[in-house]
Amino acid sequence: MNDFAVQFQGVSKRYKYFTLDNIDLQLPVGQVMGLIGQNGAGKSTTIRILMGLVHQDEGQVQVLGRHMPEEQIAAKWDIGFTSEDLRLYDAMTLEWHMGFIRSIYSTWDAEYAKLLLKRFGLVAEQKMKGLSHGQRVKAALLLVLARRPRLLVLDEPTTGLDPVARHEILRELTGAMADEECSILFSSHNTQDVEQISDQIAFLDRGRLIDSSDKETYLDRWRRLRLEVPAGIGLPALRGVIAVKQEGRIAIATANAFEADLPNAYERTGARVQRVENMTLEEIFVANVEHSREDVNV
């Protein structure tokens, strides 16, 4: 049995104006991976390669132990996939869709489907045509969740949803994780969602993977230090610090490899550390993108 639900090794895909460059990813079974990045960073391309919908030019992709794209038909029995271009038939009801999926997948859990209908506030007899965006997203999610797939692959599942619908969806996703064999990979630019439910974080920027690690380690590495710098003292470049902004005597240092001694190191230079703050994933996201672009531009 493979310990990874998803594994990318040196995966590249070249388009005329965009290159997905040498991506390595590993999602252990039983965990949730949040894929973060701006629009156009390569999140959807990564997901399409994962699903075998786009073929990589280079590199190995394994999903649930199967090679993609070669074994995609076998792999897809165990994958539940939703994306923004939901393939639902407008003229048909949700009930028809449920029957259709049930007729294909033997793992369909009718009880769970009924429960989801209620929790999502959906009406089975309603035609797709009349549904709001939020209802369509929930309907599509119901259709994949009730199959009880071993891997959920969700492209922007919470984009464009109101806060209540977002919470309903996050609740079902964490609920699905009660099963230790279930894994989720989802993309989002809502960093709050990713921070809340992900075990693993992968950052994409302009086709490159700029960081990937488990979430706790990741958040723990980043800190913001508020410093008071007496006149005549220059702040040295310290290890682990990626940016320092100073105006007058007040400086803010951002560390991406924070260690307990860093505040002392600043104090030794004569600066006074007023505060050491944790950062949210959103703040880290922005700092990380800015930093990685500086590197590229040098």
Binding site: H167, R171, T174, G175, M177, A178, D199, K215, E216
Partner: protein
């Protein structure tokens, strides 16, 4: 787990919030010594927070001796923990830390701060006298 709440307005990391709320349950006696507590995965589902975050909270609580985890048997509240005192001491430390920061911003030395604290203590003692 309706009493648990991860606050987005709380600037502290989520695992610290979880630790604090578990300690609170133990301190007020809702979770007794030796009592089995929810599994990591169960609490993660209930709180709608990733497994790895709850795992971190449990690991830190174990390190502090608040809970005990046995392989294959889940976690229990440790015997003989007195969290009432621990919690209040932690709270005191937080207040003192805050005071130290404010003092530093005002350019006070630690001796100035000590003097200030002493005079506050003396005043509050006076108030309690009849």
């Amino acid at each position: 787990m309706d009493g648990f709440l991860i606050s987005q307005a709380d600037k502290r990391p989520m695992y610290l919030q979880i630790m604090e709320q578990i300690k609170q349950r133990i301190a007020v006696g809702d979770w007794a010594e030796g009592q089995q507590i929810p599994s990591i995965r169960q609490l993660s589902v209930d709180l709608q927070v990733s497994v790895i975050t709850v795992k971190r909270a449990y690991l830190e609580l174990e390190r502090e001796g608040v809970i005990v985890t046995r392989h294959g048997k889940g976690s229990q509240v440790a015997e003989g923990v007195d969290l009432g005192i621990q919690l209040r001491e932690a709270e005191l430390d937080q207040h003192l830390e805050q005071a130290a920061k404010l003092g530093a911003m005002l350019g006070m030395t630690s001796r100035d701060l000590e003097k200030r604290l002493r005079s506050v203590v003396e005043k509050s003692v006076e108030k309690e006298l009849p």
